[in-house]
């Protein structure tokens, strides 16, 4: 606020003098006329400023009254008497409304790519990759499970006799009074498991050990592997009782974390060991084998500082709020990371700390980090500022390095990725920076930097090829997964719990399974070769595990956690009928055609719905108890003002009435047969008969508005910018290629990344200060 005021005073104080051609204002003219006659020659027709005259644009947040007083007293500079009193007021009001006020600015300024800071997620990802880039990169192979080495123990020798080695799918063992492997003695044995844990999404994980014996778990340890850096220490048992020890950890998705578990049983009757977790939206379970690898991994640097949530006022997270909390959080995170780097150079893949006594090595390290963090090589001035000036004359090189790194990591050049962009047509570094941010929420990797350096990141073809490569990386998979969570509003309802009497068996376990089923479905479709958006809408199958198959009916699959099975009722159509979404958009004791209708018309069919003109709550007890849900909703929304929107919402909801509050197929509601037939009004005001989920899917497949909604949601999620900022036709062009590609979603992601990477807008500041011809 204060800075804006300062700027305004500056603007007002330096209204320039140069032309004496003006005559007195025609008294009583409109503000617009006076402005054109008396002011525009110096300030420009729209207040944009005139070179050589007064080149600062007229904008600020003074009131019209205050502007009027100033004009009355001091304007025009060469003839203060020319505009006074009511003329000054009129011109002030005109200036204020036309271009001076913040509201006018917002109205006049065309959508543009904004300078945004890293979102919290982007910050965490960038920091992790920045520090991770110092050492060897982990590539996890396809083998799953953990490698176990089995020994017999004798007294204090835990690993007395080697018995065998194998890869265990799960660590979910109740050995009872027996032994884990042939030739082992029940008297005393030990097992040492090694490998890594793969996090499927970003968030807070709970990790748990349950054992009757002794166990010590190391997870993502930077230490030497001793007891001190144990993640969970359950080494000493008591009375052969079951110990249960858990701990929370924030993990970034799509990455592998080194894991090491020592386990032993000694003179104990009962033996057991369970390694379990609770995913951010899950329930306790043995860590499934697809998230365990027998291969080791380098430890991952994680930012542990807490951040307050990013702005979501436009429906997607973006780094627009520059708050005190954010500035503190990033500063303290930088301190945390700098201390971590200096303390763990060796574990981060660098020489032993001892060898860093030489300033040269540490200088090189700082330089490397700066270039990665700033997403382009440093120029001479920057090198002097960020690196050399810290080391020159420093009595302690470690402190010098800490200062240099802290300066780099708190620099706006790291925090605002847009600052890495060059002026004019984007160069290789700009393109690399944008691609990595769009597809990974992170920094360019070595290969992108190399392409930028070698000048092979320029043509649309080259950029698209790199985008395709980036898309194969787990980070892009995670970002895509997060998009679907957002588009399908999967996290909006945290509690899907239902009335236990009406829906027995629909417990937290089933809810977690359903979420897994939906995510599996989406991923199978997106990452298939066709990657066909229409498949998401029309698929006539479900992914079920044995528990879900039992609850929803149908053949019980075995093998993989989720198997593709023909829908038990033969009545499914992709996301329209996935039980997770049907249950999420329903009451705890009944369906909700309105919730289902609003969600699908907004997010999937791309209809604009205004907020309701009056708030009406659905109160079940106020209706005739013999009515069906459809009848109740029809009654509730019958007013004309309601029907403006409900003629769109209700038919969608009614066509899904054959699915109860937990998404099971049904044919009656309140003992009456279900009627799913109604007339939907499309965006061309045409009435279309719909009677099933299949009809809804057909609407979406054929609707331009639906395509646009999907593309826009995806665009926002990937770029954090509005589509309009990339030119009025960007969305149409994207839709064109989307349709031509057979609705290929992978292709669409590559297209969006390419458009954003190659975007080049005229420098607005330049455009504004150019004199009007």
């Amino acid at each position: 606020m204060r800075s804006a005021t300062v700027l305004l005073l500056l603007v007002l104080a330096s209204f320039s003098v140069s032309c004496g051609k003006r005559s007195k204002a025609t008294s009583g003219s409109s503000g617009e006329v006076i402005y054109a006659e008396q002011c525009a020659s110096c300030h420009g027709a729209k207040g944009e400023g005139v070179d050589e005259e007064y080149d600062e644009p007229l904008w600020g947040n003074k009131s019209p009254e205050s502007l009027a007083r100033y004009i009355h007293k001091s304007m025009p500079e060469d003839d203060e008497e020319a505009v006074v009193d009511e003329d000054a007021e009129a011109v002030a009001q005109y200036v204020y409304d036309a271009f001076y006020s913040p509201a006018a600015q917002a109205r006049n300024s065309p959508p543009r790519v904004e300078l945004l800071r890293l979102t919290n997620n982007q910050y965490r990802q960038s920091m992790t990759d920045l520090i991770g880039s110092l050492g060897p990169q982990t590539r996890i192979g396809t083998e799953r499970g953990l490698k176990g080495r089995y020994h017999n123990s004798e007294k204090m020798a835990k690993e007395k006799d080697f018995i065998g080695e194998r890869v265990d799918r799960l660590l979910d063992f109740d050995f009872g009074k027996g032994v884990p492997m042939e030739n082992m003695t029940q008297q005393g044995f030990s097992i040492r498991w090694t490998g890594s844990l793969i996090a499927p999404e970003s968030g807070e994980y709970d990790i748990r050990l349950r054992t009757h014996n002794g166990a010590l778990l190391q997870l993502n340890s930077f230490g030497g592997g001793g007891d001190e850096d144990a993640f969970i220490d359950a080494y000493v048992s008591t009375n052969n009782e079951l110990q249960e020890k858990s701990r929370k950890i924030f993990l970034l998705g799509g990455r592998a974390y080194p894991l090491h578990l020592q386990y032993f049983s000694y003179q104990e009757k009962v033996s057991s060991i369970h390694l379990e977790w609770k995913l951010p939206h899950g329930v306790w379970e043995a860590i499934p084998h697809e998230f365990l690898s027998p291969q080791g991994a380098a430890p991952v640097t994680l930012v542990q500082a807490n951040f307050s949530a990013d702005d979501r006022s436009r429906g997607f997270e973006r780094g627009s709020a520059i708050s005190k909390e954010w500035q503190e959080a990033t500063t303290f995170a930088a301190v945390e990371i700098v201390n971590h780097v200096v303390a763990n150079l060796e574990q981060l893949g660098r020489q032993r700390k001892k060898n860093y006594k030489e300033a040269g090595d540490l200088r090189k390290l700082c330089m490397e980090i700066a270039e990665r963090a700033f997403r382009r090589p440093l120029d001479g001035e920057q090198k002097a500022f960020f690196i050399d000036s810290r080391f020159e004359g420093a009595k302690d090189v470690e402190s010098a390095a800490k200062q240099s790194l802290l300066l780099i990591l708190t620099s706006p050049r790291f925090l605002y990725p847009g600052l890495a962009d060059n002026e004019g047509a984007p160069d290789g570094d700009t393109i690399a920076s944008r691609l990595a941010l769009t597809l990974w929420d992170s920094l360019p990797d070595e290969e992108l930097c190399k392409a930028a350096r070698e000048g092979t990141l320029q043509s649309t073809g080259q950029v698209a090829a790199q985008a395709r490569r980036l898309l194969e990386d787990p980070r892009a998979r995670i970002k895509t997964r997060e998009f679907f969570q957002e588009w399908l509003a999967m996290d909006e309802r945290e509690d899907l719990g239902k009335d236990g009497k009406l829906y027995p068996g629909f417990d937290q376990r089933i809810v977690a399974d359903l979420r897994g089923s939906l995510e599996t479905f989406v991923e199978e479709v997106v990452w298939s070769e066709q990657s066909d958006y229409r498949e998401l809408l029309t698929a006539d199958y479900l992914y079920l595990n044995p528990r879900l198959a039992e609850f929803y009916g149908g053949p019980v699959p075995d093998g993989e956690p989720y198997a593709k099975v023909a829908a038990p009722d033969g009545m499914r159509s992709g996301i329209f009928t996935h039980p997770y979404l049907l249950a999420a958009n329903a009451y705890h004791d009944n369906t909700s055609p309105i919730h289902r209708g609003v969600f699908l018309s907004r997010n999937v069919l791309g209809r604009l719905l205004k907020p309701p003109p009056e708030a009406v709550a659905f109160k079940n007890e106020e209706f005739d108890p013999t009515l069906t849900m459809r009848e109740k909703v029809t009654e509730l929304t019958k007013k004309d003002t309601c029907m403006q929107c409900h003629r769109v919402i209700n038919p969608i909801g009614f066509s899904l009435e054959s699915y109860d509050a937990v998404g099971r197929y049904r044919t009656t509601d309140n003992k009456k047969p279900i009627n799913t037939v109604s007339d939907y009004v499309n965006d061309q005001d045409e009435q279309i008969r719909v009677e099933s989920a299949r009809d809804l899917a057909k609407l979406a497949v054929e609707s331009e508005a639906a395509h646009r909604a999907f593309i826009t949601h995806l665009f926002h999620h990937l770029t954090k910018q509005s589509t309009e900022a990339y030119g009025g036709e960007a969305l149409d062009l994207l839709r064109g290629t989307f349709v031509d590609s057979g609705y290929n979603m992978q292709n669409l992601i590559v297209e969006i990344a390419t458009v954003a990477a190659l975007h080049h807008e005229e420098d607005e500041a330049v455009a504004l200060s150019t004199p009007t011809p």
Binding site: R2, S3, P57, W59, R112, L115, R117, K155, M156, G188, G214, L219, G226, D227, E228, D229, A230, F231, D233, Y235, V236, S237, T238, N239, N240, I249, F250, S265, Y266, Q267, E268, Q304, A305, N306, S308, I322, S323, K324, E325, Q327, E328, F332, V335, V338, N339, H340, F385, K402, Q403, L406, L407, T410, S411, P412, R413, Y416, G418, L419, E764, A765
Partner: protein, 434 residues
């Protein structure tokens, strides 16, 4: 992995800066009207040589060879002969010696097997230092930033009943920190971070200023807001930095590797930090654990090549072993003398006399004698006048349970426990030490 609660440890909340945190006592402010009292328990392993350690009961006139380094503190010393660690049950002698030493209670049955006896788990109760920590932390007048600090010297990196003597409660062992740099960071890390931060914030603003000139006016708002926030933080930190410590942070030689052969240097560094942390009133309770029970330290700096535990098993008639054990125990006494000297050289902040006048230092061991593994005649040596015991004495308590001494310590702090640890050994109450 980075410590998860980093910011919480620094006391960060949305409203306050982390580097400003810290109780007033961090800065050595003296609580008025109460006499400050401290406790330090130093542990060394594998038993002593009774003949070279224990004097006759009565006034302390002449010290035995092991205690020669403490000669000048004779009048401020108290030796407690004849105390027995009577705790029986699961676990071998070393385990119970260690884990029952400060807890006075049995071990839980468990899965850790020693060289003899039955396997065992952790101790089934709190240790006396933690009991007193809780007692002092309950009262605002005696509360300190850490409550207690657990120092270690050359403690092997393993968590088992031979390696833990401090317990926050039943089944809750507390690990000592045996890395002086880690301890320094715990004590002073946030102040150093603050200094580094203050050193760069001004430049961060310069950087922002440079950038703000180059970008379009619509984008300037964010950068300007950012600049204001950096400035505010800088001012806050500078204000906080104006507060001074009573005793400056100790300077540690930054090049000491944590290896066996550097134990003498590490020992001194830890003691410097210990005295400094108490001088700045960051804690009033500390333990200092050398190695561990059954520890096999090779004290090459004393020209002893054999492992300590192995030597301690040698029979009395092995003169070479006896001579080496004498060297080892005398070295430990010398370390104690360094600690005591430092306390006696440091004036008590805000009061008359030295810190030693307000501190009780105890030197103890898990065994009475190494080769017999006896729990009788456990070495308990007290230096300093914190507890107000009558000094310059050697008592012989003829087999009294050591629980009674642990109770005496509590009473000296005004914490009048009826029993401590296993009740059956507390019937006769505190020891007559007045």
């Amino acid at each position: 992995m980075i410590r998860r609660n980093f910011l919480r440890d620094l006391g960060l909340s949305a409203a306050s800066l982390p580097f400003l945190a810290g109780l007033p006592s961090l800065y050595g402010a003296e609580a008025l009207g109460s006499r400050k009292q401290r406790l330090i328990i130093m542990f060394t392993p594998n038993g002593t040589l009774p003949g070279e350690f224990w004097p006759k009961a009565g006034p302390l006139t002449e010290l035995k060879p092991i205690l020669k380094p403490l000669e000048k503190f004779k009048d401020r010393m108290l030796m407690l002969k004849g105390l027995s660690n009577r705790i029986k049950g699961d676990g071998d002698g070393h385990m119970r010696g260690m884990s029952c030493l400060l807890t006075g209670i049995e071990l839980l049955p468990g899965n850790i097997q020693g060289g003899s006896d039955t396997p065992a788990g952790w101790a089934n109760g709190i240790s006396i230092d933690q009991e007193l920590k809780n007692f002092l932390q309950k009262d605002a007048a005696t509360q300190t930033r850490f409550g207690s600090l657990e120092f270690g010297v050359a403690v092997p990196d393993r968590a088992d009943p031979w390696t833990r003597m401090v317990y926050a409660g039943s089944n809750k062992p507390v690990a000592p920190i045996d890395d002086p740099y880690q301890m320094l960071n715990k004590l002073y890390g946030q102040m150093k971070d603050r200094a580094t931060l203050v050193g760069v914030l001004d430049d961060v603003r310069d950087d922002l200023k440079k950038i703000s000139k180059k970008i379009s006016r619509e984008d300037q708002r964010a950068i300007k807001d950012h600049m204001e926030l950096v400035k505010a933080m800088e001012e806050d930190l500078k204000r906080a930095g104006d507060r001074k410590l009573v005793h400056p942070e100790p300077e540690l030689d930054p090049n000491i590797e944590l290896v066996n052969d550097n134990t003498p240097e590490i020992s001194r560094m830890q003691m410097d930090l210990l005295v400094n942390s108490m001088a700045n009133d960051m804690t009033r309770i500390a333990t200092l654990q050398y190695m561990r029970s059954v520890g096999q330290a090779r004290m090459r700096w004393l020209e002893v090549e054999e492992g300590h535990h192995q030597l301690s098993h040698e029979p009395d008639k092995n003169e070479d072993a006896q001579e080496k054990l004498l060297r080892i125990n005398t070295w430990f006494a010398g370390e104690l003398a360094y600690l005591v000297q430092k306390l006696s050289d440091t004036p008590e902040p805000g009061a008359d006399g030295s810190m030693l006048d307000h501190t009780t230092v105890i030197w103890t061991n898990e065994l009475g004698k190494g080769n017999s593994h006896t729990h009788d005649n456990i070495p308990f040596l007290v230096v300093g006048n914190g507890a107000g015991f009558k000094m310059g004495q050697c008592h012989d308590f003829k087999g009294a349970p050591h629980n009674r001494f642990l109770m005496s310590l509590a009473h000296s702090f005004g914490h009048e426990l009826k029993s401590f640890g296993s009740e059956k050994y507390c019937g006769d109450g505190v020891l007559p030490l007045g």
